[in-house]
Amino acid sequence: MNTPRLEIIEQYCKGCSICVEFCPTNVLEMDGFLVKAIRPDACIGCMQCELRCPDFAIRVHKD
């Protein structure tokens, strides 16, 4: 399986950090009030970040 591709829509991100906290493989980190994918290769496509992002700011592409 290919590594899922994370899409972060920066203009929607409000910096709540929910995605960072619930990511089981520590892919994400806060950079001030904006989320960054610092270890994208570790993404397992579990969708925890996308499902809990209240702001439509993260999409996980698994295709």
Partner: protein, 271 residues
């Protein structure tokens, strides 16, 4: 494939107005996944709300959308459904809107068992006006109008709905993201009044005043307190104290209101 939310969003409306960490966005996304799962036709679907943070939701979605007055969503929705029984009618709103100022409309919509799906986002507070206590604010908690702790007892929205006659009642939390769309979809498919109560976080006006360090703390608390309904059945009343029972709490078959009215029409026309 990532879920294509854009299919249902009105272009150019995001970012939405909700605060950082507000769970409304999580419930919103669950609602869209549920609508998609049920393949609701946009033209034949109305989404109705009252006033408050949650009630801003309809403005973002490409359906027939109606942002009504405070508390009145269920009553407007009843008029739509009665006039057009073939339309899918959904209601969204908060706890203060739904069971304080809109309490009478809420219980009577449940009693009629009119076929609609009401997603009530219970974040225990009036958020839009700055954090006054609602009928769902836990006793003892702080709000801008209960600076010494809330003296009021609370409503259990799901129990209220069951008592009032809703034929599908389910509860989950903003933490349980995948359960949100499953329960809403079940509610949409149910013929009759479906209430889906989603316990939600308001970090800005509730969390901060009540010793939650962050929105993540609030989400984790939902995770800790949630007890699936099947497990809850094996637990004592004492063990369930303070817990949040999640899942489908009540489901029954009872004549639906518009169908009952269709019978009235037949009798009036001697058919």
């Amino acid at each position: 494939m990532a879920f294509d939310y854009d299919k249902y969003l009105r272009p150019g409306k995001l970012p939405h107005i909700w605060c950082p960490g507000c769970g409304h966005g999580i419930v919103f996304k669950g609602l869209l996944r549920a609508i998609d799962a049920c393949e609701l036709e946009k033209n034949r679907t109305a989404i109705v709300s009252g006033i408050g943070c949650a009630s801003r939701l309809p403005g973002y979605v490409d359906f027939n959308t109606l942002h009504t007055a405070h508390g009145r969503a269920a009553a407007f929705a009843t008029g739509i459904k009665m006039a057009q029984p073939d339309m899918n009618v959904l209601v969204v709103g908060g706890d203060g809107d739904g069971v304080a100022i809109g309490g009478n409309h809420f219980i009577h919509a449940c009693r009629r068992n009119i076929d609609m799906t009401y997603v009530i986002l219970n974040n225990f507070i009036y958020g839009m006006t700055g954090g006054q206590f609602s009928p769902c604010t836990p006793t003892g908690d702080k709000a801008s109008t209960t600076p010494y702790g809330n003296p009021d007892p609370t409503f259990d929205i799901s129990k209220l709905a069951i008592g009032a006659g809703a034929t599908f009642v389910a509860r989950t939390t903003a933490y349980h993201a995948t359960q949100i769309d499953k329960l809403i979809a079940e509610g949409i498919r149910h013929k009759g009044m479906a209430i889906i109560e989603v316990l939600d976080d308001c970090p800005t006006t509730y969390g901060r005043r009540n010793k939650f360090r962050s929105v993540v703390d609030m989400m984790k608390r939902f995770k800790e307190l949630a007890v699936p309904v099947a497990k809850a059945a094996t637990m004592s009343k004492e063990e369930l104290e303070g817990k949040i029972v999640t899942g489908i709490l009540h489901r029954e078959e009872r004549p639906e209101y518009c169908e009952q009215y269709a019978e009235v029409v037949k009798r009036a026309q001697n058919l």
